[in-house]
């Protein structure tokens, strides 16, 4: 189904967009979803709106020969209609770190540069390996990662973030839950008693303003670590950078990940 030489691509998945740019195929992007903001060059590509249940007409208007959809049940209808219009469609699931490796190599082959695909995948893998090695000897820091307040949603074991924390010498207290973003009670967070709370800059403000969180000993002790959400947002090209910044956050006294 995929044409031998892909010239016009629409990416409706931010992680795929990132990888395409890293593979040097950014100039072939003729459309993106509204949440594909990185790298900065992506902003110059025309947005065709939502990545979930996309506007098929807006996608067709860009005359693509390959469309990447966000992998979701909701996108089945769109995939079918695009295929009927004779356009190659792929939905690449990248919610785990090992999948990033596979998808990057696959995308390299798709855009006709498998060497570059392998290079990007190997670079990220090498960085992750070195961070893992550097933090191996240190005591694990247990963390909770709240992402939403009402209801209280945290990062679960199904998320790549849990893996990244593990690589960076930490342990997600909810890594045994299979969901990627389960709803939990604050009392259960208290019961699991994490060493620290790991949050994005915005959430750290709401967390400090919410008196209920003071029931968590780590919060009372001021151990609220603020993530660089620009780097650790999705499982894509910046995974290596993300692991380095997380490791520095969790083990501030040990300069690991330095090459």
């Amino acid at each position: 189904m995929v044409p031998p030489r892909v010239a016009r691509i629409v990416s409706l998945d931010p992680a795929t967009t990132e990888i395409l740019f890293a593979l040097g195929a950014g100039d072939r992007l003729v459309g993106r979803d509204m949440y594909s903001h990185w790298p900065a060059a992506a902003e110059r590509v025309a947005s065709v709106g939502q990545g979930l249940r996309p506007n098929v007409e807006a996608v067709l208007a860009q005359h693509p020969d390959l469309v990447f959809l966000y992998p979701s049940q909701d996108n089945r209808g769109a995939a079918q209609r695009l295929r009927q219009a004779g356009i190659a469609v792929a939905a690449l699931k990248i919610d785990r770190i090992e999948l990033f490796d596979r998808v990057t190599r696959l995308l390299g082959r798709l855009v006709g540069d498998s060497a570059r695909g392998a290079y990007v995948a190997d670079t990220v893998r090498h960085t992750l390996d070195s961070v893992r090695a550097a933090t191996r000897s240190q005591a694990r820091v247990s963390v909770v990662m709240p992402v939403w307040d009402r209801p209280l949603i945290v990062i679960g074991g199904g998320s790549f973030m849990s893996q990244l924390v593990d690589i960076a010498g930490g342990r997600n207290i909810y890594d045994s839950l299979p969901e990627s973003s389960p709803t939990v009670t604050l009392e259960d967070v208290v019961r699991r008693n994490p060493d620290a709370v790991l949050v994005g800059p915005e959430r750290s403000m709401t967390l400090r303003a919410n008196p209920s969180w003071r029931a968590v000993p780590a919060v009372r002790a001021g151990r609220v670590l603020v993530l660089d959400t620009n780097v650790v947002l999705r499982p894509a090209v910046r995974l290596g950078e993300g692991a380095v910044s997380l490791a520095r956050l969790l083990h501030p006294l040990h300069p690991q990940g330095a090459h």
Partner: protein, 323 residues
Amino acid sequence: MSRSHWTMLCLALLAAIALALAIGTIGYTPADTWRALTGQADATTTLVIRELRLRRTILAALLGAGLGISGAALQGVLRNALAEPYLLGVSGGAAVGAVLAVVAGMSYAFVPIAAFAGAALAVALALFVAHAAHGRADPRVLIMAGVVVGAFANAAIMILLANASESRVRGAVWWMMGSVADARWSETAWLGLYVVVGGAVLVTTARSLDAIALGEDSAAGLGVDVDRVSRRIYLTASLVAAATVAAAGLVGFVGLVVPHIVRRIGASGHRTLLVASALMGALLTVLADIVARAAMPPTELPLGAITAVVGVPFFLATLRRLT
């Protein structure tokens, strides 16, 4: 209702509140719980019991009391066994306000205010339509106007959520399912004010409600200004319901089911019915909140879903006995 009924109802409510303080994800002993309440436990225990469990239990009790008394008053004034605050557009209006605030990314402090404003607008709209149609608050027109305002609100919510990001949709849906999980003292205090003042106003209208139950003409014959007193009851009950929605989102079926339960255990006059509905509403909501947080740890279930799951079978059983 006999004196023993009252005693049992009050004791059951106190027992439910004690249970709500004792039960949770962390297994504290009753002695630990007591020490935490009296400020003699370690910091974590004290904060868990006082800030997490006590706060949400008080909010749940006030929420249930407000919905129960509001439902009893509305069923009386509209002379309709199906009447409850949510049927009359209160919930829909509040939901539009709250969802608008969530989708716009406003601070959580604004959500209750927006919800209250939305509810008040919806109530005013339904009342205005009913007046325009008949020149007075006709119960049938009021119910129809409320239902239609609710439908309009649903449509508005769907449009608001169509383009919202995933986490905001989740937050908005959670709000619509109702929860006391993140109770704040300020919200609880506001709700307490509305429930106490609104409840007192409603109890003073109990005699008029008894007269209205005999029919509008009979009530007028007894010297009741039916139109004026109806409007006062309708507005007060709606404002109390709006305050509950602002504090804890949409918790369905309490307002509908509680007055029926209370009638079943023998409440006849409206004075008894209103006060007993407040107590019974508090009891049911506190129990439902225990289920919401203890049924599937570490996940918390939405309170509004639990009250509906308990309320629907009960209501169906009541219907079967009536016919």
